[in-house]
């Protein structure tokens, strides 16, 4: 098998394709990482402004407990990324093992496939295939969340930390209810009544948070894909090697058999005088 020119051609072609994918994923990761740095700066500004506002104008009232909880699960839109979606699924099962079954909004086609038969899923959305699609996905998700009667929800998503993909649960409503210390003695000026400004500020906070969550998930996905692909290519290489060895052994066996037949026939032909 190793000597087969067609197999060699195919192998080279796969490696060329893998190289292209790796290059494309790297370009996407570089771009999204740049966006993420800017988004973090923006998010810190929103957090400071919200903390400043809440310190003087009060935190929002606690949400009324309702029958269940809602989880937004963010997985991958495309395949070839190993256990990326399983991480999210496992985190959900661990978080939701007690109490009323949660309702689920699943983002990412590959993750949604895992919940096809699951009646906890109330909606599924296509995830971003490119960084440029993130704003559209966020607006679709915002529409779904606005339709849901749940007053509190959490997001389960992957992120990339210390060269590892790890799963995280983000609870936006917990930060919103925290009283944060700010270095000011007087309240900031506001043009609107606090009750009117608070939801607007919170909306800005949520949108920025969603961008951050989608950026980190996308970065993790783009790191995971080349890694998974390299693993698959290694497995193909190993399998190829194993088949090569098997082919050699079979060839040797057949040569031995042929030799035995030749020797037997020679013994029969050359009779002793």
């Amino acid at each position: 098998m190793n000597d087969d020119p067609n197999s060699e051609k195919l192998r080279t072609s796969i490696h060329v394709q893998a190289g292209r994918i790796r290059k494309a994923e790297k370009a996407r990761t570089t771009k999204i990482s740049r966006f993420y740095v800017v988004q973090q700066e923006l998010f810190q500004t929103i957090e400071s402004a919200l903390a400043d506002f809440q310190r003087f104008y009060g935190v929002p009232p606690a949400p009324t407990p309702n029958s269940g909880s809602l989880y937004v699960l963010i997985g991958s839109e495309r395949g070839f990324c190993g256990g990326f979606n399983e991480l999210v699924q496992r985190e959900l099962e661990a978080a939701a093992s007690k109490g009323t079954p949660p309702r689920l909004i699943v983002v990412g086609r590959k993750l949604a496939l895992k919940f096809l038969e699951d009646n906890r899923m109330i909606a599924s959305l296509d995830g971003p295939g490119a960084a440029e699609e993130i704003p559209f996905v966020i607006s679709q998700l915002a529409k779904e969340l606005a339709r849901s009667p749940d007053s509190r929800w959490k997001i389960i998503h992957n992120s990339y930390k210390h060269a590892e993909t790890c799963v995280e649960t983000t609870s936006p409503f917990e930060f919103a209810r925290q009283e944060v210390t700010v270095p000011f003695s007087f309240p900031p000026l506001i043009n609107l009544p606090p009750s009117q400004l608070r939801p607007q500020l919170f909306e800005q906070y949520l949108f920025a948070l969603f961008y951050g969550v989608f950026y980190v998930s996308f970065i993790a996905e783009n790191h995971e894909r080349p890694r998974h692909m390299d693993g698959a290519l290694n497995r193909i290489g190993e399998e190829e090697q194993r088949l090569g060895l098997l082919a050699n052994a079979l060839r040797q066996e057949s040569i031995t058999e042929e030799l035995e037949i030749i020797m037997l026939s020679t013994r029969n032909t050359i009779k002793p005088d």
């Binding site: 098998m1 087969d4 067609n6 197999s7 195919l10 192998r11 072609s13 796969i14 394709q17 893998a18 292209r20 994918i21 494309a24 966006f35 800017v38 988004q39 700066e41 923006l42 500004t45 929103i46 400071s48 402004a49 400043d52 506002f53 495309r78 395949g79 070839f80 295939g129 490119a130 440029e132 699609e133 704003p135 000011f184 007087f186 900031p188 000026l189 506001i190 043009n191 609107l192 009117q196 400004l197 607007q200 500020l201 909306e203 800005q204 949108f207 920025a208 961008y211 692909m229 698959a232 193909i236 399998e239 190829e240 088949l243 082919a247």
Partner: protein, 135 residues
């Protein structure tokens, strides 16, 4: 002339204008202005145009789909999903068209290339798997 810093932040870029003399924006309560050393202020800007003037007297327009405004420490921070800056209103409209078209084209190209790469690698893998089975 007293100035303040204007820090514009969107989800993809960040720009700093060091010497702004005055800023005019709109929130749900109406139009308001800001000068250097103004008191701390928090508000949410509505969809539309804001404008600011630098120390050289140059007036610039800022188109944005809403966003947060936080004036603190003589720095005006504006966070939004997207913004366009221009010194002329006609240019803003043209830039908006251009950017939208460009984004759409880029997205189309990216989607096509992703699709092609995924399909190609899958095809090759199946091909190799098929060959392995035959041999």
């Amino acid at each position: 002339m007293k100035t303040f810093r204007l820090h514009l932040m969107s989800m993809t870029r960040s720009e700093l204008i060091p010497d702004v003399v005055r800023f005019t924006g709109h929130d749900a309560a109406g139009s308001f202005g800001l000068l250097a050393n103004a008191f701390r202020r928090v508000t949410v800007l509505v969809f539309g145009l804001a404008h600011f003037q630098d120390a050289a007297g140059k007036l610039e327009y800022l188109a944005l789909p809403g966003g947060l405004l936080y004036f603190v420490g003589n720095e005006l921070r504006i966070t939004t999903t997207h913004f366009i800056r221009s010194s002329s209103l006609d240019e803003i409209s043209a830039a908006l068209d251009r950017e939208l078209r460009q984004e759409e084209e880029e997205l189309h190209t990216i989607k096509q290339s992703l699709h092609r790469l995924d399909e190609e690698i899958l095809r090759r893998m199946f091909e190799l798997k098929g060959r392995g089975r035959h041999e």
